[in-house]
Symmetry: C2
Subunit: 305 residues, 2 copies
């Protein structure tokens, strides 16, 4: 009966960027800033703050520079931003960004629909961005979407995930986030994919993060499986912000409250104060137009009524 | 990286009894019957059908005899009913019941609030019920509530759980269902409690079932942990029926859809047809006054719109 988990997990909070980007509501810039500040004060070690995408493409994120320049930068917290291309990178650097993330997928059809490029083209586009990041000493995270399934192609071969992962590492990315974009993964598949990357391709666990969506309720079970094979970095979104764009009305990102409740309850150190986290979600909730999907959050709100 | 799970899991569907009993809405008897028939046709091996409690105490279940006598009894399916005392047992036997369940808890305060008795008194009350069941060849399941925490006492000592478990087995109960009544358990605690019962007290895994509530989102992760230490019987409720009476508005029972999606996805045999299960929940949904909480169900409904 020996089942083991890491002593410490690094939670990467993606609510202000990935979460809000996938909410319908337009949240005022001042509220985004307040939300990020409350999240970093709650002890989250990484708070993905915004995205320097084209303001025309995603109007909700056109305030990226203002957000970056107005948040309180705590020394203990990293504030990565999403950067799609060199133009975005220049704006990010001008705003004082010290950590960025780039974004591709393990499925060709998804990449074509999402950014109108092949996977190979998307990687080529990152080359100058990552080059500039390295010159400036800025760390680079690489998101890989559709690792466990694609809304267009269905199943995704784990070897395809490995190809993209190795290509990103080769380009100079320091951490990979493996995304279950449509929330179809189950624990056995999680272990199979991770085993391929960790054992067969010898990618260190410290360079891998998991990013699950709770669309079918399996996100936390998938996290548990990932921890058991050595993963120590987990992405999540305060309140569960960000629905599933492929199943409108269904759940999206794993909620940070539910993740932290489980980890803290297991004695796995996160550094996150759960009450402060709930308070952060509570401040953004009135701007969403719906109740945050986090079950822990809902139970906490219900208990406080 | 060896993580293993059982090849087959027996899912105990508790929606028609435990689920509906904790819903506010009064569901017409004909709809309950239809719901049970659809669940057994979906391949669930056990469908808890109703409860022979005092009709005055729980009016929603005053149609217990009619339900039992009207459902289609499939040979492959067990239809246990809850029985609180000898009077209920006589009514259950008269209605043709072949499997019953009795109900106590691991916390004194909870038992006092719930059935106005000490745990010892509750066990004494079961003695004639279980005696009668054995004479009639009726199987007996024992529910133990508040195994992982109590709404009144907080933490519950695992040894207290073991005492109650051993007393129930001594009385002649053939299966124990370990309930996380308020949905506070995390996987480490699950393994600790199960380890005590399985290893230290040598209770066979085949006599233990787990019954998690998803109040804080951890139910499926807890199931995964339980499977890893050898548990092969898991309780759940179609659609997630049954809120949490200790946190109104928050989630209650683990949803059968979410459980079966995970198990089927891991290649663990359940015999359950997920589409038929969703169809069963869909027929009862209009009578609840709210959307069923199952994430898989919500994603399926959203995809079919």
């Amino acid at each position: 009966m020996s089942v083991s988990w890491p002593e410490r997990v690094r939670v990467v909070e993606v609510g202000p960027r990935d979460g809000l980007q996938n909410e319908k509501a337009q949240v005022p810039t001042a509220e985004k800033i307040r939300f990020i500040d409350l999240l970093s004060e709650a002890g989250l070690p990484v708070v993905e703050a915004t995205s320097f995408v084209s303001p025309r493409a995603i109007p909700q994120l056109s305030d990226a520079s203002e957000v970056m320049q107005s948040i309180k930068l705590l020394e203990s917290v990293e504030y990565p931003v999403l950067v799609p291309n060199s133009k975005g990178m220049e704006r990010a650097l001008a705003a004082g960004v010290r950590a960025i993330a780039v974004f591709t997928a393990a499925s060709e059809e998804f990449t074509r629909h999402n950014i109108n490029a092949t996977i190979a083209q998307s990687l080529e586009n990152f080359r100058p961005v990552i080059e500039l990041a390295r010159q400036e000493g800025v760390s680079v995270r690489g998101y890989i979407s559709t690792v466990f399934g694609c809304p267009y192609e269905g199943q995704v071969a784990p070897e395809k995930v490995a190809d993209v992962a190795l290509a990103l590492l080769e380009l100079g990315v320091s951490e990979l986030s493996l995304g279950d974009t449509i929330g179809v993964a189950t624990p056995k598949q999680v272990i199979e994919v991770l085993d391929l990357l960790l054992s067969h391709h010898s990618i260190p666990a410290s360079q891998l993060a998991v990013h699950f969506h709770d669309t079918r309720g399996t996100a936390l079970a998938n996290v548990l499986a990932a921890l058991q094979v050595g993963i120590t970095t987990v992405d999540s979104s305060a309140g569960g912000l960000g629905g599933c764009p492929y199943a409108p009305g269904a759940a999206g990102n794993l909620a940070t409250e539910d993740l932290v409740y489980m980890l803290n309850g297991m004695g796995i150190e996160t550094g996150v104060d759960l009450e402060k986290l709930v308070a952060a979600t509570r401040t953004i909730a009135p701007f969403l137009g719906h109740t945050p999907t986090s079950k822990y959050y809902q139970a906490a709100m219900s208990a406080s009524n």
